[in-house]
């Protein structure tokens, strides 16, 4: 809301709007030009990771809609199950390649430490998301993994809350809370990259 003279007021919405306009202008958020050094395959790893995440989410939504009998017993279900599994493999392979690339060019330079740290947290949350996925398969492998993991998880001290033998809890975390966390973190990561621009190579 503006005052009679058209000057912005000191309300929190106006302050938030001014901050967003200053730190994330549209030309930064949706750029049509990139610096010369972005023309390298190393910069493609992050984009492939996002593409894999989209496939993970889409195939996961289908699996959640139809359920374990479908994904174990029908041809279409087994196909979508495999699509989900292999897109996760692609997601992790390219996330680690992206990590190597950004590590060797020290991407935390020039005020980009928050971008780097959000990437680190995304990696950690993704590992938990994948782990709960292995526990949600509804087969003997899932039971084997849960039984073997319980002592390790208990030894960390989180076993009182994070019970790998509790299928309902693991499945709920896997299809609801952890995907929301990963998607939100990736969104924040991309916003941070757009705010500060792609890190230039080391001189």
């Amino acid at each position: 809301m503006s005052s009679a003279a058209g000057e912005p007021t000191d309300s929190w919405t106006a302050a938030a709007r001014r901050q967003l306009e200053r730190r994330l202008p549209w030309e930064n958020l949706l750029p049509d030009r990139q610096p010369f050094y972005v023309g390298s395959w190393v910069y493609v790893f992050g984009v492939v990771t996002i593409a894999a995440l989209i496939w993970v989410v889409l195939s996961g939504v289908v699996l959640a809609a139809f359920g374990p009998q479908w994904w174990h017993l029908s041809s279409a279900g087994r196909f979508v199950n495999s699509l989900h599994f292999w897109s996760v493999q692609v997601f992790f392979v390219f996330m680690v390649l992206h990590l190597w690339g950004q590590y060797f060019m020290a991407s935390w330079r020039q005020g980009r430490a928050p971008t780097w740290m959000i990437g680190v947290v995304t990696f950690a949350v993704s590992i938990v998301a994948a782990f709960t996925g292995y526990l949600s398969q509804q087969n003997f492998a899932a039971q084997y993994i849960a039984i073997n993991a319980k002592d390790a998880v208990n030894s960390t001290g989180v076993g009182g809350f994070f019970n790998v033998l509790n299928f309902g809890q693991m499945y709920g975390l896997h299809v609801m809370l952890l995907p929301i966390a990963v998607i939100a973190l990736v969104f924040l990561h991309i916003i941070q990259v757009r705010m500060r621009g792609v890190v230039p190579p080391i001189e």
């Binding site: 990139q34 010369f36 972005v38 023309g39 190393v42 680690v96």
Partner: protein, 51 residues
């Protein structure tokens, strides 16, 4: 396929062959990304290109 994977056991290193293969392929892919030319990429250092 439905049996435990074989393992490489070399001193203190213990890793399954499939995991070692994936890591090897990732290292090769990383090396290729560094050396392969990017399509539409000219040699001018200061020029800005559309993505």
């Amino acid at each position: 396929m439905d049996q435990p994977a074989g393992y490489l056991h070399w001193g203190f290193i213990l890793i399954s062959w499939p995991n070692l293969l994936v890591i090897g392929l990732m290292v090769v892919l990383f090396g290729l990304a560094l050396v392969l030319p990017f399509p539409g990429h000219s040699s001018s250092v200061n020029e800005e290109k559309k993505p």
